[in-house]
């Protein structure tokens, strides 16, 4: 009888612990930071007025000149400024971009550019950016481009794209990903969020040439 009482106490203890566990994790509801219901037809944040595709020329990871305005014209383009030694937002964002593209039709991937511009002028060499991007472009036929330049060039590129100019050796930077459509306008932007992948996957087909 004593044993049975102990057992009952043990089972009650288990029930309490389990209840505490389920109470502390309320599922996959986005936090306030990410609770973005989207704008208009988009799941990202709408831009009004729309931003025209900017023109700036930087250097790609092979050391060649890359004219963003000309070479991505007419293509759906995701533009992001960050740095490779970033432990947090940058790799998460690029992972979401890669995963979103991976989920789309190959014809759509083929015409899409993903342009990463480093804000860390001192440390991000072409080789470093190339290696870092290779973590994210696997399994997609989209064109991943890594760009670098002088501090003045990078600042000018951010200004042209209406992105807050990064500070602190590029480590304090905007988390926004801009999506330009085939019509060369950005009508939607993605701040860092836990459902960025789904937002981009939803919106990219809307801005591509049908």
């Amino acid at each position: 009888m004593i044993r049975r009482t102990r057992l009952a106490v043990l089972l009650v203890a288990v029930a309490v612990v389990l209840a505490a566990c389920s109470g502390s994790s309320s599922g996959s509801k986005p936090s306030q930071l990410n609770d973005n219901s989207g704008s208009g037809p988009y799941h990202g944040v709408g831009l009004d007025p729309a931003q025209p595709r900017p023109s700036f020329t930087l250097t790609d990871t092979a050391g060649k000149s890359f004219s963003f305005g000309q070479q991505t014209a007419g293509h759906p383009t995701l533009l992001y400024f960050g740095y490779t030694n970033c432990p947090d937002v940058c790799p998460t964002t690029m992972f979401d971009v890669g995963a979103a593209l991976h989920s789309l039709a190959k014809s759509l991937q083929d015409q899409t550019y993903v342009v990463f511009v480093t804000t860390d002028v001192k440390r991000d060499t072409g080789a470093v950016i190339h290696r870092w991007l290779s973590n994210f472009d696997g399994g997609t036929s989209a064109h991943f481009v890594g760009l670098r330049g002088t501090q003045a060039q990078i600042n000018a590129a951010q200004t042209a794209a209406h992105i807050t100019v990064a500070a602190d050796d590029g480590q304090t930077h905007s988390a926004d990903v801009l999506l330009f459509g085939s019509d060369d306008y950005a009508r939607v932007v993605y701040p860092q969020s836990t459902n960025e992948q789904q937002q981009i996957a939803h919106d990219l087909p809307l801005v591509a040439k049908s």
Binding site: R3, L7, S25, S31, L33, D88, R131
Partner: protein, 167 residues
């Protein structure tokens, strides 16, 4: 209908052993060491570590801190078993900055570190960090003292412990 006594005894033993096993399994390591009773002043949950993305050699740790006391407490430092340097970064006025003087967790308040919302940056790693490994984190509080939690290494893109917090 009378069962032989040895069978009854064996059944009871099995039940007790099973129940005891359940209890042990149901108490997570982090909570066991951090204290799960209502008397624990500080409770740390949902700790995890993101490994570096090559060629970067910087990892990040995340967790949620609950201050169950009626007094503010300050998370003054974090040390880890993963690397020589650990720096707490939080968002101040919309910008991610190193918290040089620690972070105050208000009375009955929480601190939630999550992607884009603060992290512990871990540098000068002692070795490779692979998903499936565990990292010990020691959080030191001005009032509550040191608390050690175990944080699993979780790959980029893989699900992380839900904080369930809405700030």
């Amino acid at each position: 209908m009378r069962l032989p006594l040895p069978a009854v005894a064996a059944g009871a033993l099995l039940l007790i052993a099973g129940a005891a096993g359940l209890v042990r399994g149901a108490v997570p390591q982090a909570i066991a060491s951090g204290g799960s009773s209502a008397a624990a002043p500080i409770v740390v949950t949902n700790a995890y570590v993101r490994p570096p993305v090559p060629p970067s050699q910087t990892a990040a740790a995340y967790f949620t801190v609950y201050n169950t006391t009626a007094q503010d407490d300050t998370l003054t430092s974090v040390t880890t078993g993963a690397g020589a340097v650990a720096v707490l970064h939080t968002i101040v006025n919309g910008t991610m900055v190193a918290a040089a003087n620690g972070v105050v967790i208000p009375a009955h308040g929480t601190l939630v570190l999550s992607t884009g919302n603060g992290h512990v940056m871990i540098e000068q790693l002692f070795g490779r960090l692979l998903p499936g490994q565990n990292v010990n984190l020691e959080l030191t509080f001005a009032n509550a003292g040191p608390i050690t939690v175990t944080a699993p290494v979780i790959a980029l893109g893989a699900p992380v412990p839900s904080t369930g917090a809405t700030k």
